[in-house]
């Protein structure tokens, strides 16, 4: 345990409370508001399942990134890191195109409670993915310059902290995918 690791774990705990409350709001209205449950039929579940796999696999590439930095192969590590960024960005593209198709069907925040809760929950998750991508890009820049030094000394915290954050963002999506998309299957 080091300082940055603890700090990031605490931050993630705080963020978890934030997301849990957004999820509770989604669940409450999905149960109590008939229109909200109906509206979820607009979702394209198989398509989102594919993009979910894309996001989950970025956790795997992130893990490989750390391993390769620590075992002293910076080139391989940077390749895994680039893959992580690409996977995360693809997920965001998937989410963006999903939003566009929903809005074309007139599913918006102001349409009904499904729109309000769906866009808030997935939107804040998307924002977190986006912030994660910025951090990953910064990590890539540092890795390019410093090589394996990133896995030791002061910089080790950055690698470790960003990794924890990225795994957190991915695991939040497990819950969102379950309660938003799988629940709409019926």
């Amino acid at each position: 345990m080091n300082k940055i690791r603890l700090a990031m774990l605490l931050f993630v705990a705080s963020e978890a409370v934030f997301f849990i409350l957004l999820m509770i709001a989604y669940v409450v209205y999905h149960v109590t508001s008939p229109s909200a449950a109906d509206a979820s039929r607009y979702l394209d579940i198989p398509r989102t399942a594919v993009f979910s796999v894309v996001l989950f696999s970025s956790s795997f590439t992130m893990w490989r990134t750390g391993v390769k930095f620590r075992t002293g192969s910076p080139r391989l590590a940077l390749a895994w890191l680039a893959a992580t960024i690409a996977l995360g960005a693809s997920f965001l593209v998937g989410e963006g195109t999903e939003y566009v198709s929903l809005i074309r069907k007139d599913v918006t925040v102001g349409r009904d409670l499904f729109g309000t809760t769906f866009f808030t929950l997935t939107g804040f998750h998307g924002l977190h993915v986006f912030i994660g991508l910025i951090m990953l890009a910064a990590l890539f820049g540092i890795g390019l310059k410093r090589g394996t030094a990133i896995a030791s000394g002061k910089l080790a915290g950055a690698l470790e902290g960003i990794t924890i954050y990225w795994h957190f963002v991915d695991s939040v999506w497990i819950f969102i995918f379950t309660i938003v998309y799988l629940w709409a299957l019926r």
């Binding site: 605490l10 705080s14 934030f18 409350l21 209205y29 925040v109 009904d112 309000t116 808030t120």
Partner: protein, 566 residues
């Protein structure tokens, strides 16, 4: 005046510290002591603003059927008073004590992340300025500090507010300050976890640090609940969402649940570091180690957990299942137990001690009595039928002012009288301090004690005036006049702070004969805090040092107890 180990005596006053000269040294500072002082100064300025708002309210209420203020203005004044006192005064002033004294009490050079510490402060300041900027836009928050939906929804607000942006500034201001609070919480927890010297085990860590760490856990896990509610409200107002808007099936009660899931831990956020201050002051002025150190620490942890499970007692009047009533009534009574443990421990610490009634101790003693009244009247609300009868009356107002003003603000005063010498190198005037104390005690109890009875008479809170019914006129007249006395006491405090900075007696390293590490360095501490850190073998490292090294601490000879805390 000795007891210190630190040889450096070069700066006798904070005004003479070369590193702290010039505005730039403050604006660009990442030193936890400077940032702590910036928290103090900023929160005290907001304190003046909040007190002024209170005086406006008490003046409006001085006689029945008064139409000096319009209802719309009065709504904004009480909403801003509550928001200011909670978010811009009490939380940051306590954060100031935490970031200033935690590193010193654990013998650290600084907090774990000094730059994050500075960022937290600036977020707080900008949040406060943003909140107050709403006055210039024509209106401010009008729905009380708890901002119940749907009063805050655009389509439900009265005409004046429909076009207004007061609620938006409130949301933005609190989001900024809240982000700062979460960062402070992380910073404090990592500092306590990593920067203690190896021989300062958790069982030797001062209670102020224990309670601050518990406070940080509460901030970490409660503030995001407020943030979630705030962004949802913002989406309702600007993207036409329906979270709290019944027009399309949204539930205003969801706001109440989220707000109080944050709000009840928040009331402990507003008191825990204050309890920490009291737990340092009472032993020092009773010349005894704290009674029941382990119980104090454990009861703090108990409160931290329980405080997340009592929020619905704020909402008993909304109607719920009886099972829910039982659960929350029980948990609300249960949380009074660890609080009661603390009260008895403080009293037991004083019992048989060689008590010195300096101003800090006077405030601590008054705190115990006033906080007990506030706490007991709070347990009354756990009893559901009593809650139904008294909710939204002045009984509530009296109750939480006894905990937050008679409680927290009195602990803050004790903290300033105790630590001002350490911070500035000068003593606060005891003469002015005693004047301030008696003005505040009489003013405070005069203002709020009779309001319990106004509440029992059924006087509703948050209404701009009241009819001339029996008792109400005289109760409110006494309350308003006492409020002026209270405000006068607060002005004496500010005068004391200003005058003593230059004219106060030099403090020396350890004017009170304190036993914790902050007294082992000079007053004010040098920018690097310590030349070397004494060994920590108990909760009272300086006492051990005096015993071993024969250095005659100021009051060591009168100490009636042996060692302690192991």
């Amino acid at each position: 005046m000795n007891g210190g180990i630190n040889a450096s005596k070069k700066a006798g006053s904070i005004l003479d510290v070369p590193e702290y000269k010039g505005l730039l040294s403050w604006l660009s500072s990442v030193d936890h002591k400077q940032i702590g002082i910036m928290y103090f100064v900023t929160s005290l300025i907001f304190f003046l603003v909040g007190v002024s708002e209170a005086m406006v309210m008490r003046t409006q209420l001085i006689k029945p059927d008064n139409h000096w203020l319009s209802p719309e203005t009065y709504n904004q004044v009480f909403s801003m008073h509550g928001t200011t006192m909670v978010f811009l005064v009490v939380m940051p002033v306590l954060t100031g004590f935490m970031v200033y004294f935690i590193p010193l009490m654990i013998g650290a050079r600084d907090v774990a992340f000094p730059r994050v510490n500075a960022l937290s402060y600036w977020l707080y300041l900008m949040g406060g300025l943003l909140l107050y900027f709403s006055f210039f836009t024509g209106n401010t928050l009008h729905a009380g500090w708890s901002a119940y939906a749907p009063l805050t929804e655009t389509n439900y607000s009265m005409n004046l507010y429909m076009t207004g942006t007061g609620v938006d500034y409130w949301i933005m201001g609190l989001l900024l300050a809240g982000a700062g609070s979460i960062m402070s919480a992380i910073n404090i927890l990592v500092t306590v976890a990593f920067l203690r010297p190896p021989d300062m085990k958790l069982s030797r860590t001062p209670l102020f640090v224990w309670m601050s760490a518990a406070n940080a856990v509460l901030m970490l896990l409660a503030v995001p609940a407020l943030n979630a509610a705030l962004v949802m409200l913002f989406i309702d107002r600007h993207l036409h969402g329906f979270f709290f808007n019944p027009v399309a099936g949204g539930k205003p009660l969801l706001w109440e649940n989220y707000f109080w899931f944050f709000g009840h831990p928040e009331v402990y956020i507003l008191i825990l570091p204050g309890w920490g201050i009291i737990s340092e002051v009472i032993p020092a002025f009773s010349r005894k180690p704290i009674f029941g150190y382990a119980f104090m620490a454990v009861s703090t942890v108990a409160i931290t957990f329980l405080s997340f499970g009592v929020w619905a007692h704020h909402m008993f009047a909304t109607g719920m299942d009886w099972t829910v009533y039982y659960v929350f009534a029980l948990s609300s009574m249960l949380i009074a137990v660890p609080t009661g443990v603390k009260i008895f421990n403080w009293i037991a610490t004083m019992w048989g001690g060689a008590i010195r009634f300096d101003t800090a101790m006077l405030f601590s003693a008054a705190f115990i009595m006033q906080f007990t009244i506030g706490g007991l009247s709070g347990v009354a609300f756990a009893v559901v039928p009593i809650d139904w009868a008294l909710t939204q009356t002045y009984f509530v107002v009296a109750h939480f002012h006894y905990t937050l003003l008679g409680g927290t603000i009195f602990t803050v005063m004790a903290g300033f009288y105790y630590w001002y010498p350490k911070i500035t190198g000068r003593m606060l005037s005891e003469k002015l301090g005693k004047i301030q104390f008696w003005l505040m005690v009489t003013g405070f109890n005069g203002t709020f004690f009779l309001l319990f009875f106004a509440g029992l008479d059924g006087m509703p809170r948050r209404v701009f005036t009241y009819p001339n019914l029996p008792h109400l006129a005289v109760i409110n007249l006494i309350s308003s006049l006492s409020a002026y006395v209270l405000a006068l006491g607060i002005l004496v405090f500010f005068a004391n702070l200003a005058v003593s900075l230059k004219k106060g007696e030099p403090a020396g390293d350890n004017p009170w004969g304190g036993w914790t590490l902050e007294w082992a360095t000079s007053s004010p501490p040098p920018p690097h805090n310590f030349d070397h850190i004494p060994p920590v073998r108990s909760i009272r490292p300086l006492w051990d040092l005096q015993q071993a090294g024969g250095q005659p601490g100021v009051l060591a000879a009168s100490d009636p107890q042996e060692g302690g805390g192991e």
